[in-house]
């Protein structure tokens, strides 16, 4: 083996990866450090860290005073959590039924659900808005939850099916011999076994819901019902010249996701790199 050659090669690899890591982090870093500075310091020396002289949280005060960030945040939390809960529950139920039972229409349903992985639900927006109008759900968080359940189900069914298929037959058959009902088999035996897969699905479902602008913009744009993404978009559109507020609003939107990501990144990356979505 060529030891020398290997060392310089390793150095090259680290140099490239480090450079790209800096490219990926720099923009976010600049926004966060400047959110804690006075207006003058933001412009005079954008790259400097806030010091005791330049430190200021006036932007955050403005944001919290002039917008309902707390409301936006809790709206997003409610919408995301409720949607994930139903995507996981209904997704697992559909995945179980489609993999376990043979019945007429099984393949058709499976194909229609699989199509939803590739065909974006956005293309049906015209009719979705009409439907929500007819149901009197426009401007409610319920409309968003319903759309996100429909949006999240296909991938959830796909990933969970792969896992359910790996569950050994003996487990189910033993329970059936004991006269346990199908519904109880699902809740007592299957659900606990696919918990790790459900965590993966939860992460994949959560990100597009939390970050979505399209459906909040169309279905729930009114004061009080905005999600955080729409709220930030509207706030910055209004106060675009107030740099302190803009930077603070961006930072407030970034930090919770950053914290969550660093906590759950292992889970997420394991999901991405395991067989689940290959």
């Amino acid at each position: 083996m060529k030891i020398k050659h290997d060392t310089s090669k390793k150095l090259m690899i680290h140099a490239v990866l480090l450079t790209y890591t800096l490219i990926a982090l720099f923009p976010i870093w600049v926004v966060i450090i400047n959110a804690f500075k006075t207006r003058r310091a933001i412009f005079n020396d954008p790259m400097a860290l806030p010091t005791s002289e330049t430190f200021s949280i006036v932007g955050f005060q403005e944001v919290l005073l002039r917008s309902q960030f707390d409301v936006f945040f809790s709206n997003s939390m409610v919408v995301t959590l409720v949607s994930i809960f139903f995507v996981l529950l209904f997704g697992a139920m559909i995945a179980w039924a489609l993999t376990e039972y043979k019945f007429k229409g099984n393949l058709v349903i499976a194909l229609l659900v699989a199509m939803g992985i590739m065909i974006p639900i956005r293309l049906g927006t015209v009719s979705i808005l009409q439907l929500m109008n007819d149901l009197n759900l426009v401007n409610t968080l319920t409309s968003l939850v319903l759309v996100y359940i429909a949006q999240g189900l296909p991938l959830a069914v796909y990933i969970l099916s792969e896992f359910i298929r790996q569950i050994p037959k003996d487990l189910k058959e033993a329970a059936r011999c004991d006269g346990v009902s199908e519904i109880k088999i699902f809740f007592a035996i299957i659900l606990p076994l696919i918990k790790p897969a459900m965590a993966t699905v939860a992460v994949f479902t959560m990100i597009p819901i939390w970050n979505d602008l399209w459906f909040p913009l169309i279905l729930a744009p009114n004061e009080g019902n905005q999600t955080i993404t729409l709220g930030v978009q509207q706030f910055i559109g209004q106060f675009v010249t107030d740099w302190n507020s803009v930077l603070a609003a961006l930072t407030l939107a970034i930090l919770p996701i950053l914290a969550l990501y660093l906590i759950f990144s292992r889970q997420l990356i394991r999901g991405l790199t395991s067989g689940a979505v290959k």
Binding site: A24, E100, L123, Q130, I149, S161, Y261, I269
Partner: protein, 309 residues
């Protein structure tokens, strides 16, 4: 496999398992899509009633200058947007994945986590962040370019017709490079070491074993990354809307199908929104995406089976 339905008169358990989820999926995803395809064949009169109109909307969109110019402009821009992603995002993702998968690399997990971070954030946030960074008012990018001796080349890229779309595409590439990186990285890890070792024993150098062993094996993943990029790009909206607004300025130079669909359906400023024309635009977007998916399935047929659940 069980033969449950044979015994029982009605498979209540099936209804229980499939009912709630499919009710939501069919009524809020499948039905609206089909209904949108239907609405594209109607016109709406001022009192809101619909009348069947055949292909009128489509002939307007494709041939009537008032409609067709914006439509072809958006389609063409969208294609450019996609090509930039394919030429920049996916090769960089591939490169990073190959580097990350080099054996016994220290800090590999840290690099991976950090490079993937922008992908997690909302496109809206990323749009605003880059708008600030590229702003001549703040001058961060301008100063940086002077520092590395390229100051003369700085321009207000987002504000110019000739460069706005390309700049936005690069912002999107920057954000989403993590996805091809992760998926290709996973595929590279799943290649058995013996295969690569065998090629080394046979005298292949690093390039040869990459191009002859690894690349053919990760080709299905590259195909999947391509179709994911295609669908995401032809469905994109948020970045353009955040940075350039619904009018996709300057002078519609950043208009893509998503923003065109939004304006056609909801209307914006002087333009009145139209339900049926919006449905027609959505239908054409659907056909474009369908074409992409069909081509993908045709060229990567061995993956088809996995899509049939």
């Amino acid at each position: 496999m069980t033969k449950t339905p044979a015994k029982k008169p009605f498979p209540w358990h099936l209804l229980f398992f499939l009912g709630p989820g499919l009710l939501i999926y069919f009524s809020i995803s499948v039905y609206p899509l089909l209904d949108t395809l239907r609405l594209g064949f109607f016109t709406e009169s001022s009192d809101g009633s619909l009348a069947f109109a055949g292909f009128t909307n489509y002939s307007k969109l494709l041939f009537d200058a008032i409609w067709s110019e914006p439509f072809w402009n958006a389609t063409w821009n969208n294609l450019k947007f996609f090509v930039i992603h394919m030429l920049v995002q996916n090769p960089i993702g591939l490169l990073l994945a190959v580097l990350l998968s080099s054996p016994k690399l220290r800090l590999s997990g840290t690099y991976r986590t950090l490079i993937f971070m922008p992908t997690m954030l909302s496109v809206v946030i990323i749009g605003f962040v880059w708008q600030l960074l590229l702003s001549p008012l703040w001058g961060i990018t301008e100063n940086f370019m002077w520092d590395i001796g390229l100051g003369d080349y700085f321009d207000a890229w987002l504000g110019k017709e000739s460069s706005a779309l390309i700049t936005l595409a690069f912002i999107s590439v920057w954000q989403f490079v993590g996805i091809p990186m992760m998926l290709i990285y996973a595929a590279l890890l799943s290649i058995p070491d013996e295969l690569v070792d065998a090629s080394v024993v046979d005298g292949a150098n690093a390039w040869q074993s990459f191009f002859h062993i690894k690349l053919p094996l990760i080709l299905p993943t590259i195909g999947m990354v391509s179709i994911l990029t295609f669908v995401a790009n032809f469905n994109a909206f948020e970045l353009i809307y955040t940075v350039k607004g619904a009018l996709a300025g300057p002078n519609y130079s950043t208009d893509i199908m998503g923003t065109l669909f939004y304006r056609t359906f909801f209307g914006f400023q002087l333009q009145e929104g139209s339900l049926t024309m919006g449905a027609a635009v959505a239908t054409l977007m659907f056909l474009v995406i369908l074409l992409g998916v069909a081509l993908y399935l045709f060229f990567f047929q061995r993956r088809v089976q996995r899509f049939q659940l």
